[in-house]
């Protein structure tokens, strides 16, 4: 909070510069088979009220029993955020009434969360990293789902999500722009997916963000914030920050003041709107849930979980730079998804790592994006791409033919070695054959030969002709050398 405002992050208002301050509460659905306090399934998209036990429906006398896997997932996530793990935490009741909350309260953690302070290293751009502090992570229950468009007079309630375990991850107000907000959520999502503690699927609501936005003059104390609830895509998070900051600046510059309130982002209209209906209910009267004892474990329990953690994205990125000599940006792109990083390593192992990185990032990722596929559904396996890289390194095929080969493997599959053999794609390195083609071209074009002697850039034309005659298979270096010799340039 004490750090000076970065001039590049400021935005211009009518009366001068403004700094945006953003803090976020991310609700991440824990990856588990069953719910936090009941044995109902957590799988997405079941028939209405089919994944509901009598506990989730809050029938009288039902008691919550905590799912140990959810506890472990929260600890793993805390470790991944380099955060303090609290060996004793307490569950509280957060009291409010809403039709999708049959208990009349949400079981959450208020005073004593399972995870304390940590941090996330955020890659904002190829040249800028920032650190966003994590204030806490706590366990809580998700609510059910209300549908408002099924009937003109009634809301429909489905309790399938009711009781599913969530981690609420609260950041410090360390974010200064829409771009940083997007980068923070992107990085947090990457970490959660590496850890396997949340699938990060924003379309299915596994990851939602409440975004707190305020503005201030550089160097001044924090302004009044507004909370934008339940933003469900990374792009919308960025838009919501920009739109809300602009709205606040306009109000203050007009001599008004900001009311602290909860707002909703409408992506269609590109505006935020007040959610006045929930405002007066902001007295949650938290108290320790008498149905649940404090959650306690020792350091040995934490250490055991730490041993099982995978290599995390920051460590992997550092290793890719050191071990494979990759530029930091390329390394960052490769470690965004664990599957991509594994794929790259399978291609790079024992080969030219930079060439492998180029092929994975430029050819493969480019193609996957274009076709809306992921690394998991890639038609080209790491082994196939590795073989292509081998063929280039060995000089068997040229870089240009390698791209054709990639296309064939992409659409038809098969062993690249066999394809090269069967379709005669091998680069001709046999000087005799190339020489023959060169001689023929020179003999057939005497006037061009004369021109080339005066103007050496004509060489390109000859290279093209030779390549054409050899079906693109001639080694370009050999063609160049021979032509220069024979043309005397």
């Amino acid at each position: 909070m004490t750090t000076a405002a970065k001039p590049s992050k400021l935005i211009k208002g009518a009366t001068g510069d403004w700094e945006i301050v953003v803090g976020m509460e991310i609700h991440a659905q824990i990856t588990s088979h069953s719910k936090l306090f009941s044995s109902a399934s957590t799988s997405f998209g079941g028939d209405p009220n089919s994944h509901v036990t009598l506990v989730d429906a809050a029938m009288p006398g039902m008691l919550p029993v905590i799912n140990e896997e959810c506890v472990k997932q929260a600890i793993r996530t805390g470790l991944g955020l380099k955060a303090k793990i609290n060996h004793r935490s307490v569950f509280d009741r957060k009291n409010y009434f809403y039709p999708d909350l049959p208990q009349g309260y949400q079981i959450s953690q208020f005073k004593d969360p399972i995870v304390g302070e940590g941090e996330v290293i955020v890659d904002v751009s190829a040249s800028e990293q920032i650190i966003v502090g994590v204030e806490r992570l706590h366990l809580e229950q998700d609510a059910g789902k209300s549908l408002h468009d099924q009937s003109p007079t009634e809301s429909f309630v489905d309790l399938n999500r009711s009781g599913v375990a969530l981690m609420e991850i609260v950041s410090r107000p360390d974010i200064r722009s829409a771009e940083e907000a997007r980068a923070y959520v992107t990085k947090l999502r990457t970490i959660l997916r590496y850890l396997g503690t949340c699938d990060g699927n924003m379309e299915e609501g596994s990851l939602r963000a409440d975004v707190n936005v305020s503005v201030r003059r550089p160097g001044e104390p924090l302004g009044t914030r507004c909370e934008i609830k339940n933003v469900n895509s990374i792009r919308f998070i960025g838009q919501a920050v920009d739109v809300e900051a602009r709205r606040q600046i306009a109000i203050i510059e007009d001599g008004g003041k900001i009311d602290q309130e909860t707002r909703l982002f409408d992506p269609g209209k590109g505006e935020t709107r007040s959610m006045r209906s929930k405002e007066e209910a902001h007295d949650y009267r938290y108290f320790p849930d008498p149905d649940l004892l404090p959650l306690e474990f020792d350091q040995a329990y934490v250490d055991e979980l730490a041993k099982g953690l995978p290599e995390l994205p920051d460590d992997k990125r550092a290793r890719f730079i050191a071990e494979y000599g990759l530029p930091p940006y390329d390394a960052g792109v490769l470690v965004m998804e664990r599957e991509s990083a594994d794929y790259f390593e399978a291609v790079a192992r024992g080969r030219d790592a930079k060439m492998a990185a180029n092929w994975v990032i430029n050819e493969l990722f480019g193609r996957l994006n274009k076709e809306g596929k992921t690394i998991a559904t890639s038609p080209v396996s790491a082994q196939q791409l590795g073989t292509i890289v081998d063929l280039i390194s060995a000089g068997t095929i040229s870089g240009k033919l390698a791209k054709d080969l990639f296309e064939i493997v992409w659409s038809e599959g098969g062993d690249p070695n066999v394809i090269v053999e069967e379709r005669g794609m091998k680069q001709v390195t046999d000087t005799g054959a190339i020489e023959k083609a060169v001689d023929e071209i020179i003999a057939a074009n005497p006037e061009k030969v004369e021109q080339a002697k005066a103007k050496p850039t004509m060489l390109g034309w000859f290279v093209g002709q030779v390549m054409k005659q050899t079906g693109g298979k001639a080694n370009p270096e050999a063609v160049n050398t021979l032509l220069k010799q024979k043309l005397g340039i």
Binding site: S34, N49, S50, T53, A57, L293
Partner: protein, 95 residues
């Protein structure tokens, strides 16, 4: 510590309990009687005493992550005042 009539109305509202105006003075009296009774506890010095969470020394029981016990949508919605197509139905709540 005591509560005034506005607080009584507010507590009733938060708990979604309908309270008629003529009931408020009586409830205020009852609540204040309870509060003064409980207030006697504040005579005890509890500084440095851990809050007791259980009368017997036991820790929070943990459950394995296994799926079971779905009641079935028919059973879940059986006692609901309103249900349709296995959904609960409630008077429209729109934000």
């Amino acid at each position: 510590m005591s509560v005034d009539q506005a607080t009584v109305r507010r507590i009733a509202h938060l708990a979604r309990i309908a309270v008629r105006d003529e009931e408020v003075p009586h409830l205020q009296e009852e609540l204040n009687a309870i509060l003064s009774f409980v207030e006697e506890l504040s005579a005890v010095d509890v500084s440095g005493v851990e809050p007791m969470t259980s009368v017997i020394p036991m820790s929070l029981p943990l459950r394995k992550d296994e799926v079971s016990g779905h009641a079935g949508a028919d059973v879940v919605t059986r006692n609901a005042p309103g249900a349709e197509d296995h959904f609960f139905t409630v008077p429209k709540v729109v934000e």
